[in-house]
């Protein structure tokens, strides 16, 4: 059996699964709108939390946060599960699937067969949607893949029980009711934007939001002293990967959020948001410029010399520009 489920690609797996699930229930939203309503743009640099021995830099809130905010705002009811027994986890999945309900799953990418081998790290917060089963094979809609894929039940079980940081433990979820659905309205969009502004501007810690970008810049200047040439380059490579690796729509969600501001501007009848969208696009281009220059630390191009101060300066500028954009955005949203 296979559900009549429209598979659409998305930049980010979580946005993609939410959007495709909602679409199945005839709630049609764009990926940027999901990102915006889910307040999915952020920045944090946490030297004290490490993955593969390197500080975590992130351009989005915690995994699952977008999903929770969007469904809460829309008043869509979600049922979530977690299982200690893998066989029970598979049986429950079948039971729900055969009630013609598409099921979202949290999986690890390490053993995901259709991923390129270069992407097989122990990342355990990938979202996919199971939309059918034929014999021993599940039909899967993974938003970062251009077509529907198939996974054997053994493979699916393995990725649902991936190990490492934050193991998924068979987590799954589905929409249980849309009876109280609230269509997107002005208030909702406004609140979601204000939440993003608040997170980017007002968290009183140096690691988060626009301050976090400056903090990363400051730390970066000392990387060579702290980690040596090679270690510093590895750290920089890690930042670039978080900015650009599958899931951000380019430049750490900045372009996707700019697309949202454009859509929101039209929706709210506020042309000023279109200008801010363009400004955020320009900032996205600055992030790309940063990545391009940073890449020379690990891929030498001819005749180029680079210093960490140089790329750190670029980040300081980005921090300043983002501060301006989100301050203006907050002002517009708070007025009237």
């Amino acid at each position: 059996m296979q559900l009549n489920f429209e598979h659409k690609t998305a930049g980010h797996c979580e946005n993609g699964v939410v959007r495709n699930l909602l679409k199945y229930y005839e709630v049609d939203l764009s990926e940027p709108m999901i990102l915006g309503l889910g307040s999915g743009l952020f920045f944090s640099h946490m030297p004290f939390y490490k993955m593969h021995g390197m500080p975590i830099t992130s351009f989005r809130p915690l995994p699952g946060a977008i999903f929770s905010s969007v469904t809460r705002r829309l008043r869509v009811k979600i049922k979530r599960y977690k299982f200690s027994n893998p066989d029970k986890a598979m049986a429950k999945l079948d039971e729900i699937l055969f009630r013609e309900i598409p099921v979202g799953l949290l999986v690890g990418v390490y053993n995901l067969p259709y991923f390129p081998k270069e992407y097989r790290f122990h990342f355990n917060a990938h979202n996919i949607c199971v939309i059918g089963k034929e014999g021993d094979e599940y039909i899967v809609s993974d938003p970062v893949v251009i077509q529907k894929c198939r996974l054997s039940s053994a493979d699916l079980k393995t990725v649902r029980y991936a190990q490492g940081t934050y193991p998924p433990r068979g987590r799954m979820y589905h929409i249980s009711s849309i009876k109280r659905l609230r269509p997107v309205d002005e208030q909702m969009v406004r609140k979601a934007i204000l939440k993003t502004c608040n997170r980017m501007l007002h968290i009183p810690l140096p690691m988060f939001g626009v301050k976090g970008i400056a903090y990363l810049a400051t730390r970066m200047r000392n990387w060579v002293a702290m980690y040596g040439e090679r270690g510093a380059a590895l750290n920089l490579a890690q930042v670039i990967r978080m900015l650009e690796e599958i899931g951000t729509g380019g430049a750490g969600f900045r372009f996707m959020y700019a697309a949202f501001l454009q859509e929101a501007g039209e929706f709210l009848g506020k042309p000023a948001l279109r200008d801010l969208s363009l400004e955020l696009t320009a900032i996205g281009d600055l992030w790309r410029d940063f990545s391009y220059h940073a890449a020379r630390f690990f891929k030498k191009r001819e005749g180029e010399v680079a210093s960490y101060d140089q790329v750190a300066d670029k980040l300081m500028k980005i921090s300043q520009r983002e501060k301006e954009v989100f301050t203006r955005l907050e002002k517009i949203m708070k007025s009237e």
Binding site: Y119, A237, I240, G249
Partner: protein, 132 residues
């Protein structure tokens, strides 16, 4: 970023069905989704991370040949596994997995244990015993 500036630098994704969705501006300045097969700075960052892993594995492989470590240590490194994560997959303790990385202890392991380790690493027992 404009649509015509969306990079299409294939290196990692083009042989798979995985793609990056980029958001870029069309000629009227309206955002559109565009599929991309990758971008050089990102590809280079990923390849650089792997080159560091490969170098580390080569070093460990050398130590295996010198009889200082067991082949398990090599496979752990090559497959970006850690003793901790392999312990979680197999049910052995982290301390045990670390012990299995010592050649004299590894040599004494029975087939059942080897099978369990190899299974969790998604390789065959023959592969686990060798460093090819």
């Amino acid at each position: 970023m404009k649509i015509k500036e969306v990079p299409q630098d294939g290196a990692i994704l083009e042989s798979t069905a995985v793609r990056d969705v980029c958001y870029a501006l069309d000629e009227d300045g309206t955002y559109k989704e565009v599929l991309s097969v990758g971008w050089s700075p990102k590809n280079e960052a990923i390849q650089f991370a792997w080159s560091a892993i490969n170098e580390e594995s080569a070093k460990i492989r050398q130590e295996v040949m010198e009889g200082k470590l067991s082949p398990l240590a090599y496979h752990l490194s090559r497959l970006v596994m850690t003793p901790r994560i392999l312990a979680d997959y197999t049910g052995f303790s982290t301390r045990k997995i670390k012990k299995f990385c010592r050649p004299e202890l590894f040599a004494g392991l029975n087939y059942e244990v080897l099978e369990k380790l190899a299974g969790a690493l998604n390789i065959s027992v023959e592969q686990l015993r060798s460093i090819d």
